[in-house]
């Protein structure tokens, strides 16, 4: 029936698996049955079904109850929440690291501003 309310924590766990990410990517192109989803993978139907249950529990996909094929449907809004958060967080750290890299270069290129790389220096408050 209805999927449990999606929680970001559970979605992260679900998406930590490469097979499940591949399933999500496939479903982004349109609904598919378990058989269709299993085709590209060297995996048994029960194996795929296990992955689908994980994705369904966290709210990333839903399955209609119609007939035996039960096509899987990607819940884009749920995925957007995950993707958006990751993208923003990743962007901030990436740009922060870029700036830190430049700052470290500046420090080391300007004589007298950088401390010597003394091994074993512990707490360092100047």
């Amino acid at each position: 029936m209805t999927a449990a309310p999606g929680r970001l924590d559970d979605m992260f766990i679900a998406l930590a698996d490469p097979t499940r990410r591949a399933i999500v990517t496939r479903l982004a192109r349109g609904d598919a049955t378990v058989n269709e989803l299993a085709a590209p993978f060297d995996m048994t139907l029960p194996g795929i079904s296990k992955h689908l249950k994980v994705l369904e529990r966290c709210g990333l996909i839903t399955r209609t109850r119609s007939a035996q094929f039960r096509p899987c449907h990607l819940e884009r809004t749920a995925l957007d929440a995950v993707a958006g958060w990751i993208a923003e967080n990743q962007r901030i750290w990436s740009e922060r690291f870029d700036k830190l890299d430049r700052h470290l270069r500046d420090l080391q290129e300007t004589p007298g501003t950088a401390p010597p790389a003394a091994p074993g220096r512990g707490g360092n408050h100047d």
């Binding site: 929680r7 998406l15 990517t25 982004a28 740009e95 830190l100 470290l104 080391q108 790389a117």
Partner: protein, 153 residues
């Protein structure tokens, strides 16, 4: 060395051409943080950076958007400080904990690994979701690259 990812965790790793002491100082001294803490187009004024480097001490920054002047305040608390190799802070507002690990690679190179756990729930609110309209294609690439949390480089 990496086991199965835990709940809601993200890892970012970067190698810097600088000795570990210096990198650690950059991450813990306002005079340095002001140079790089904000992402592109965002400033972090020195006067609004608080670093009380002890467990329970404040780690606060205000990031100001250069374009429109809007600001975003982070009010975190240090959990653990082990200079120059480890730094942990937590954001009581979101519950998210960030662990920075500094590894001396030798030859004046340092690897910084940022490990974040406990992704905040508010990101699932309808309002937040409305702001997170992203392309599915790009999303798949992000996920493949980021969520695995495997050993980076």
């Amino acid at each position: 060395m990496t086991d199965q990812p835990q709940a809601a965790e993200l890892t970012y790793t970067r190698v810097f051409e600088a000795p570990r002491d210096l990198v650690f100082r950059c991450m813990t001294e306002p005079e340095h943080l002001t140079h790089f803490w904000g992402p592109d187009g965002v400033s972090t004024p020195l006067e609004n950076i608080t670093v009380d480097l002890r467990p329970g001490g404040a780690f606060e920054t205000v990031m100001v958007n250069d374009a429109d002047g809007s600001s975003y305040a982070m009010r975190a608390v240090f959990v653990e400080i082990s200079a120059p190799d480890r730094l942990v802070w937590t954001d009581p507002g979101s519950g998210m904990t960030t662990t920075s690990t500094f590894t001396d690679l030798g030859g004046g190179r340092t690897e910084v690994r940022i490990h974040q756990v406990n992704v905040p729930e508010p990101f699932l609110s309808p309002q937040a979701q409305a702001g997170f309209v992203t392309s599915l294609d790009r999303c798949a690439a992000y996920l493949a690259a980021l969520v695995s949390g495997g050993p980076a480089r």
